[in-house]
Amino acid sequence: MASPVRSKSMATVRVKRFNPDSDAKPYMQEFQVPNLQGTTLLDALHRIKHEQDGSLTFRRSCRHAICGSCAMNVNGRNILVCKTPLQGQLDRKGVVTIKPLPYLPIIKDLVVDRSTFWNEYLRVKPWLVPPATSPEREFRMSPEEVAALHNAETCIMCGACYSACQVVALNKKYIGPHALLKSFLRVLDPRDTIPGERLAEVGTDEGVFRCHTIFNCIDACPKNLNPTQAIETLRRLAQKRTAFEAARVERQRTIAGPLAAEPTPGAEGGVRHVP
């Protein structure tokens, strides 16, 4: 299938192939694609699929790093192929190697089964449990309280961290960095009423105390988030759970009313989002 000729204007894409219905085991296949300026890895995969082998199978949708479909293992690293230029991934021989996310069962070619990933997401109750009564208008949150959530709210659930995590690889009971990050989002949210229950769930040997702080999740995250830091925070809070719960109850006494800080005139109320 692959052409042995390798020129600078062409790139060689090595892809791991596997259809469990018809292949005894996974194998590598090489394709040649034009190495044009601005070509992303996703463009290269599309080109192969549309022009050479329609059976090459991968997930993608938004193609701009917000839907989380296209995390794959490229040259040994988990990345989103949609936002990664082909050129920067080629070795000196003009070759890039694309494999499915590691440690997850392969459904077909680059498509993996994320069942355990989503099960752990469900396990941490990803939804907010707000106070029983809602105010007529919004719950009040300070820009600082919002900024504290920034590290988690932009998680796109792509699975890059999860499948880069050595602990996940060795221990299928580990909740995993993505779900712990989601738990962090809820625990830190002043509107949530069950932070104690959440901390009890994640403050175990299957949760935050299982993390070995290897930092693979940080390296893998395409949104530059820091699950390790979130896990550290949860660890700390899990150890003073009762005090944290009490502080939350106290905070919620006034959450329907204005914060002490008055808006700064002419400064759009001092919107701040990024810490």
Binding site: T57, I107, E268, G270
Partner: protein, 599 residues
């Protein structure tokens, strides 16, 4: 394919973006316990999550500093002062934005419900950006006369989608991830369910329900340059049309003024809402010529047309002169990092420009479909101009047409439309079930025809791929049915699409396997593109006027005398193209009579 299984739910929702998930959540909350949502991608991959700038609602948290004009500084509304904004103002802006083609009774519902639904999102956990006193932050958006875009930095859609999905899970909604709707089951004027494929196994199943909702999103993928996800192929509208449902106002396709050059990836309108400029190759803020008051904050149809005019007259940027510059530099580093972090990353990743110190090359990009499956105000799908319902079939969001956007949608009104009418449709479906609707019987095996069709696609031996055909379609639609249109080009496009439909009958599918066959899916999607594109062109050819996003160079005026009406397109029984008819627009002639539309 023998292991076909019949699945039964009270309610089945197709599409897991904001509209579909709202509908499912409401059913769950109302006590309809058996709700199934199918989605061809994992629900959190839905394209609602790509929306950036905000969701409109007149909360009156922020106002313009008095006397500073439509682009001046903003300030928080001090406690105890008069409201700075109103649903009435939001309503007028939406009507004017729609070029008076939006139905004003539906618009009134949307803008009133807006306030409550934003608070509901907040109560459910959405992490909105905030003012220092804890209220939700608001910014300006094009065509809105007040700062009423409620936002979470520039990832508003992402936080709304995740929040609503989480709450749907909390209420026991069952999601079928990576299932592909294949057909609608309608017998004797009653919708009884759908046929869908489990993508993992390739198996077709009959799914029966007392109510079905399509929230299947838009169809920008009919164009070469689009902000839309690969998944946005208009499956829902094509399936409905094939089942005999009319499509309304399909000729109105919105081009967003700021897609990244050559990519089409969205650079949020918040860029201009925060104060960004548009510059031509001479470095001029050309919007001065086209919208002297609102400038860059004119509505999208007008800004895209202005850009295209600059480009056509030789004042574009880039190697082919088909781009425009977006200038954010004067906003300053801090503001860009705080308010526009995602678009900054996109610009760096895809065009190699950091907006903090560089000019971002952009171009108009196919973005939003104003038309779609016609519904009443509760998401009930209607079959004709008099509102005859297709019992049991509902629709909401971009694939539907209520119509609140008319000929042109305002930014931040799409998240709102999907949310408000998804929620309302959910209420209506829940009511139908709780009122004791029957599970209607289905005759024969509804999967049979679809199975044969797929078998035929897998077996036929043409040497042209569906993707080649899709590529030609996109080129034709872009050239002849884009921002500027005329009879000659549209006739050419119609002929081309019909020829492509014929060629498609021989298109090959290379992947012959059943498991996760994305090659087959791509071919089915291409068929859908070919189906609804013909309807877009037919509507555009018939509508001999210029209104909102539909601009005919051979009929450059709005013609209220003849064309203040919706287009309905029904598939002819002989399969020969759509049959067009018309539906009146709901206008409150006392309060909001048509006016000259100027910005």
């Amino acid at each position: 394919m023998s292991n076909s299984e019949t699945i039964v739910h009270d309610v089945i929702v197709v599409g897991a973006g904001l509209a579909g998930t709202w509908a499912a959540l409401v059913c769950g909350r109302r006590g309809v316990k058996d709700v199934g949502v199918i989605s061809k991608v994992h629900p959190l991959r839905s394209h609602s999550g790509a929306a950036q700038g905000g969701i409109a609602a007149a909360l009156s948290n922020v106002r313009a500093v008095a006397g500073t004009g439509p682009r001046g500084p903003l300030e928080a509304v001090p406690p105890g002062s008069e409201p700075a904004d109103s649903w009435e103002s939001h309503m007028f802006d939406t009507i004017k934005g729609s070029d008076w083609l939006g139905d004003q009774d539906s618009i009134e519902i949307m803008v009133k419900d807006a306030i409550d639904i934003v608070y509901e999102y907040e109560h459910m956990g959405c992490v909105f950006s905030r003012l220092t006193d804890g209220r939700i932050a608001q910014r300006r958006f094009g065509g809105h006369s007040a700062p009423r875009a409620n936002y979470a930095a520039d990832w508003t859609g992402h936080v709304l989608l995740h929040t609503i999905h989480e709450q749907a899970l909390r209420h026991g909604v069952k999601f079928y991830s990576e299932w592909y709707a294949k057909g609608l089951i309608v017998e004797d004027g009653i919708c009884r369910g759908i046929v869908a494929m489990d993508i993992l196994t390739g198996e077709l199943h009959t799914l029966r329900a007392k109510a079905v909702l399509f929230g299947t999103g838009g169809y920008g993928r009919a164009y070469e340059i689009t902000s839309n996800a690969h998944a946005n192929t208009g499956d829902g509208v094509a399936i409905a049309y094939e089942a005999g449902v009319p499509l309304m106002d399909m000729e109105f396709v919105q081009f967003h003024p700021t897609g990244l050059y050559k990519h089409g990836i969205l650079m949020s309108e918040a860029c201009r809402g925060e104060g960004g400029y548009l510059l031509n190759s001479r470095g001029e803020r050309f919007m001065r010529q086209y919208a002297s008051d609102k400038m860059e904050l004119a509505p999208r149809d007008l800004v895209s047309r202005s850009e295209q005019t600059e480009i056509n007259q030789g004042r574009g940027i880039g190697p082919d002169g088909k781009g425009i510059h977006l200038d954010l530099r004067h906003l300053g580093r801090e503001r860009i990092l705080e308010r526009l972090p995602q678009v900054r990353d996109l610009s760096i990743d895809f065009v190699g420009v950091d907006p903090i110190d560089g000019l971002v090359p952009i171009q108009p990009t196919a973005h939003y479909s104003m038309g779609g499956i016609p519904t009443d105000k509760d998401g009930q799908v209607i079959m004709d101009a008099s509102g005859t319902p297709l019992v049991g079939f509902f629709s909401a969001g971009e694939c539907a047409c209520v119509s609140v956007h008319g000929a042109n949608r305002l930014g931040t009104n799409s998240l709102l439309d999907a949310s408000v009418f998804g929620r309302r449709a959910g209420e209506a479906m829940a009511q139908r079930v709780l009122d004791g609707a029957r599970l209607e019987p289905v005759s024969g095996d509804p999967t049979e025809g679809h199975r044969r069709e797929i078998q035929n696609m897998l077996e036929r031996g043409g040497d042209e791929s569906a993707e080649t055909i899709a590529g030609e379609l996109k080129a034709t639609m872009t050239e002849n049915c884009g921002i500027f249109r005329n009879a000659q080009g549209l006739k050419k496009a119609l002929k081309a699409v019909r020829a492509l439909q014929v060629r498609f009958k021989d298109a090959r599918v290379m992947d012959k396997s059943r498991r996760f066959n994305t090659d087959l899916l791509g071919a089915l999607e291409t068929r859908h593109l070919l189906t609804f594109s013909e309807v877009i062109i037919a509507g555009a050819l018939a509508r001999e006027e210029s209104r909102g996003a539909h601009w005919r160079t051979d009929f450059p005026q709005r013609d209220d005398q003849n064309w203040l009406k919706h287009t309905l397109a029904v598939k002819r029984a002989d399969g020969e193209g759509p049959k067009l008819s018309f539906k009146s627009v709901f206008i409150d002639w006392q309060r909001y009579p048509p006016q000259v539309r100027k910005y």
